[in-house]
Assembly symmetry: C2
Homo-oligomer: 550 residues x 2
Amino acid sequence: MVNTPEAASAYHYPLLIKQILLTPLANAPHQEIVSSPGSPVRRYNYRAFYQRIGSLASSLSSLGVAMGDTVAVMDWDSHRYLECFFAVPMMGAILHTVNIRLSPQQILYTINHAEDDIILVHTDFVPILDQISERFERPVKLVLLDDGADTPNLPSGYVAEYESWLSASDGGFDFQDFDENTTATTFYTTGTTGDPKGVAYSHRQLVLHTLGLIAAFSTASGNNRFHKEDVYMPMTPMFHVHGWGMPYAATMMGVKQVYPGRYDPEKLLHLIESEQVTFSHCVPTILQMLLSAAQARNVNLSRLKIVIGGAALPEGLAKTALDFGIEVFAAYGLSETCPVITTADLSASVCERGSNEDLARRRKPGKPCALVEVRVVDQDMNDIPRDGKTSGEIVVRAPWLTQTYTKSPEATQALWHGGYLHTGDVGRFDETGSLLITDRIKDVIKSGGEWLSSLDLENIVSRCQGVREVAAIGIPDERWGERPMLIVAQVADAKSNITAEQIREAIRVHVDSGELPKWALPERVEFVDQIDKTSVGKLDKKVLRARYAQ
Amino acid sequence: MVNTPEAASAYHYPLLIKQILLTPLANAPHQEIVSSPGSPVRRYNYRAFYQRIGSLASSLSSLGVAMGDTVAVMDWDSHRYLECFFAVPMMGAILHTVNIRLSPQQILYTINHAEDDIILVHTDFVPILDQISERFERPVKLVLLDDGADTPNLPSGYVAEYESWLSASDGGFDFQDFDENTTATTFYTTGTTGDPKGVAYSHRQLVLHTLGLIAAFSTASGNNRFHKEDVYMPMTPMFHVHGWGMPYAATMMGVKQVYPGRYDPEKLLHLIESEQVTFSHCVPTILQMLLSAAQARNVNLSRLKIVIGGAALPEGLAKTALDFGIEVFAAYGLSETCPVITTADLSASVCERGSNEDLARRRKPGKPCALVEVRVVDQDMNDIPRDGKTSGEIVVRAPWLTQTYTKSPEATQALWHGGYLHTGDVGRFDETGSLLITDRIKDVIKSGGEWLSSLDLENIVSRCQGVREVAAIGIPDERWGERPMLIVAQVADAKSNITAEQIREAIRVHVDSGELPKWALPERVEFVDQIDKTSVGKLDKKVLRARYAQ
């Protein structure tokens, strides 16, 4: 027998986003999708959802949208966004999920760079488009998304309003099969410098990521698992890596879904209660807001499971969430990784709920999802020894990683140096095989071939009495390459000022215990009134490194 | 933006069987794999498992096995078989899982047809090979699989013994990436007539089926779900559609696995108890044997979940299993479908355990798995109305269906007529969207364009007092095409014989209730001493149809 590759077979089955709809339509056609943007709450079932997807494709087609065209969306989390998640790629067009938190200038850049043909714009963002639409580099058709009136006023330059547009459609659309490697979605990610960078995902990648999410979240043995009778609501914007891909997974499972519109803690809480939401995900800031609001009026959140990503889950926040009865745990990924690549492991080992051990495992980025290969490597792509101490860069292979930064061959080459996607995160595996992240690679302090986590240093110093804020950076050193330096801002009304020697002492404890290397003792400690921040409020280590380089 | 297919990208990730091993090695390297064939029980962990896979590939390679070669296995369910499930396809070779229940003549046919280069033979099957090896059409190397002695006697013509062969290997093997559409496995399926037909599966198909199995069995909300802390043991032979693909899914999840060797009810029960097995699968006959043995010595089976396939789950057996505390439920598939395409839906609706409703839903083939499209169609490929009564043929599309019958273009064309795989099963969807199977298409009685299930008629008549066995077939009719006929064998010591009129009366009740059409009343009832059977003990309707056609 010869093992001929059979991709060309007449019966080949390409992986396409439309197939995600097979199971809900067959198995749960009457299950509800709830959208809260307007008033009253809109609710329809998966069968109606599929009809609306057909109407949307038909309407887009009547505006000239065809294979390869790009349809952009600027909306809060709504049923409309979910419909676009399916209809646009199912037509063979590309869905551009516009990050509405960027500056108007950056939004303009992404619209031009992605070569958008049509933009679906929520009324809240019409003023932004008004500012920039004259600088569109190609003809763009605008469609209004309106939460309110049945017959909204169409702003000048807009060709249609979404709901009346869909109502006027004849409904049917014949979604064809095509190459599974066809691009389905695109969006932009921003670093601290330079223009936003475009990433893109194919149908194949999104279908495989959906299966990967399900395999990761549904096979858990504990109460945190995602199952067919959960009620799902995103608290991550849908423009943020497709709401972490969760709307696709929730749809494939045919669960009840709730879309909350613009995030408002009171509204989110109300929906969690009234729609009996059980499964959600968000960044720590949103969870913090939600729990603060919940504390004020004693809401019961004990049926809720929440996946935390986008930033480390702080211990205090995890504790508060557990006190509410929430099953809270971390997952890890990037815009470039679709995003999920690891999830915290809450397997039912002997571990008391809320204990230090339990908190620790909930906060870890965790263990690789199915088909994901995670390595921790040095600069020459050698695996770092698993000694529980040494860190390296986290690199990944998986079936759903972005293949290129759009039109940026150099950035792409750096991203994929050595055949693995470079996360830019520094970390290590702990003794249980869970991934820990210790730093961003650009912030790590590199000395004599060794890496020191700037975050580790900052964590130690931030616990010192009198320290309000601290940044650890590497400064150039002729012999070692770099040496650590601390920039410290003190508490304004501190009784007595903390000294550099006291700070060094605090670090020395961790050196003596073997936790940190000897050279972690800082070369220099500088006291300042304010530490420089980036536009999103993070320590601006780039500026600090430049300032203190001399 | 242009949506260029990116399959050719340097960073493309082909779906390969070796990737199934990524998660257990990263997340559960110390989890156990237990094999019972020899004495004492052999146990090792996933890390050792991976090393043995390397040793096996290295050993096979030293015998000359390369990409495209075929390696056959004749073994009971063992750690060796699991090692072959991975090592052989991971080398780019094809694993031929020989059906050791076929006749020696048929086994010879499959060995020649698959063009086996090497056969790994358990001592139990050496006598069979001795009978046929002279008729091998090409040179074949034989390797012995021995459960017993450390230094077994190598029969003449055998080049090595598995365990000593692996011990002598240097261990490492560099498993390369290659085209995901490369054939990974092949085996043979037998109909009632003609030679066995070869089916084959690619790496891509097996990886996607693995993800599909996990999405189907792990997302269930109830106690029947498959999760990371289950202990898995097959009770379906591994030569039977890769043990229904479950060993691949269990491996991807990194659960403890138990391989029982040759099936013996006492041994299976012992392993279930001693290794704390929680998840298994088998045909009804095996479950029947297991429960009979368990009844004799009052074993606790209440932690067990068992998926039933291969034949309909009888109500009485389901009830007995529930009485043991077993979570028993059906799944559906064929040799041609990798196999799983639907699973019973035990969602937590109001349904008392063991009630008629509960028994009914556990016994249904159930609802489509992720990415599986199931249709019920008439002879022109039109969908049958979902009226809860009309039946049609079940046809399927999914990413893991066999693409061809090997070297049989005509049979392939019939299998894939109209672009869907034809299951040969007749059925319909019930009001909950669950699939019901009512007959095999070749046995259905076709009259005036309508289909009548031979099984429905047989079920009714078999409940009549005095009936030992019954076959319903279609006999030619000039006006209607076919008309139903019954062949009845009576109970030997029946007090009084049942009459044809009494049988017609029993059927008339179901006609009057609207359950069956008027023309279901049989044209003819024939009483016989014995009804013809096939070699596997099924009613031989082909013979019956031929006999009564005049």
